[in-house]
Amino acid sequence: MPAPIEDFARRRPVPSWARTREWDQVPAQLRRRAFFSATIEDARALSAEREAVANLLQRARRPDGRLPRRDIAIRELRDLMRQRGLDTNQPDALTNPAAPARIKLVLDVNRAQAQNYARFKRSSSGGALLAFPAQELIRERDSVEKRPWQARWRAAGGRLHSGRMIALKSDPVWTRLSRFGNPYPPFDFNSGMGVRDIPRREAIALGVIEPAQTQPDPVAEDLNTGLESSAEGLYPGFLRTLRSHFGDAVALDGNTLRFSAS
């Protein structure tokens, strides 16, 4: 099974001025292979963020012999962003690359995505999938402002089982639920929602699965989803940036941006 760092190491850094809104228009499969931070075109700054995430994932000791810590990483990145002239002097704005809250978000989302991708891979195949064919969307961390997750669940095609948001691991609801197009958490920025494995016997008791039913093995992510998106309104410069990093794997067909995962 891949360790979180192995998946993360495969992500290519893509410096670009593109904002979150533009990145949202990029096919999910391509986003999953890129390391980016909205509006950061500075390759050195982006590289430093990528290295900080990698160090936190690996828990590799620093040159001074200490384990990496997120608060120290945030301070060091803030100082670097200032040195690179990226501080917009808005201390709490998520659009400011030097704002601690923004840097924390970048570190947390990327680290959580790598960890949860590894967990998704191991829980969606082999014996783990036989024993735990379904999962439940649960609140893992309290949030000051909670999103209407049950409404989002229904809108994504999810069914409630005894009032709980449970579905097979292979159900497309997980990908539809995610802002990032991933079938695993985090499902949105700063989200406190996670998943809990549901054992086969509980899944049968709740009517999620029939006693005679099993899932295809392995579930793995559906490689036919998230391969294309609308390119409406995307600037040609951003498309050129993507092509410079991913070559012919990125193609524009009319108003559709396609990514060939192979």
Binding site: R66, L130, F132
Partner: protein, 214 residues
């Protein structure tokens, strides 16, 4: 002290015999048992996370969270030692300290003081004590005595202002802090064994439903 805790999962002999009646590799059963142990660990850490903090502050997601920092998120993929033996690791110095207890000294980290958050704002600061404007004052501690603290505000007020009260303290400063071991930081071995067995049985049930019986 190692920061990695490992839990070995071995399939019991009686389940191995049941497995022999199936045409599926034994590895599946061990993977299922390991997944059961992992799920039980996560549930255990969620329960610990749900308990209120002793200092009354809001949770920072020490045991279980979604930001990649918690103990639960450090559970690694099971390493398959053999078809009937898996090993699950948790790479967490924080968990190691909870289990063994001990004293953390500021000097060991090249610092003069450790910072102990006194408010939710301090506990939730993404850059720790350096992220909040503050200055050092000696302040009466609620438990008695006068102690050094980081008080909100970039500088000490001038000209006869009243000394800071405990309510304006962001962090208390201490030379060291000592914790007792927390045996319940990990689930009981019997509970982990039961979780492994239940999951292995679920896997056998699924294999039978799939028609993998020999």
């Amino acid at each position: 002290m190692s920061a990695r805790y490992t839990i070995d999962v071995e399939v019991p002999e009686n389940l191995r015999r049941e497995l022999d009646t199936l045409a599926a590799p034994g590895r599946l059963l061990t993977e299922a048992a390991a997944a059961g142990v992992e799920a039980h660990l996560r549930e255990h850490f969620r329960r610990l996370q749900a308990r209120p903090r002793k200092d009354g502050l809001k949770s920072t997601g020490f045991w279980s969270s979604t930001d990649g920092n918690s103990v639960a998120e450090q559970i690694a993929a099971a390493e398959m030692i053999s078809d009937t033996h898996a090993r699950i690791g948790i790479d967490s110095p924080e968990l190691a300290h909870k289990l063994t207890g001990g004293t953390i000294r500021a000097a060991d980290y090249g610092h003069t003081y450790l910072t102990i958050p006194a408010t939710d704002r301090a506990a939730q600061s993404p850059t720790g004590a350096r992220g909040l404007p503050s200055h050092i004052e000696w302040v009466e501690h609620p438990d008695g005595g006068v102690r050094p603290a980081l008080v909100a505000g970039a500088g000490r007020p001038q000209g006869g202002a009243s000394p800071a009260g405990a309510e304006s303290v962001l962090f208390w400063l201490v030379r060291s802090t000592t914790h007792r071991p927390m045996p319940g930081a990990l689930p009981a071995e019997a509970d982990l064994a039961a979780a492994a067995r239940e999951s292995a049985l679920d896997a056998i049930d699924a294999l039978l439903a799939r028609g993998d019986a020999a």
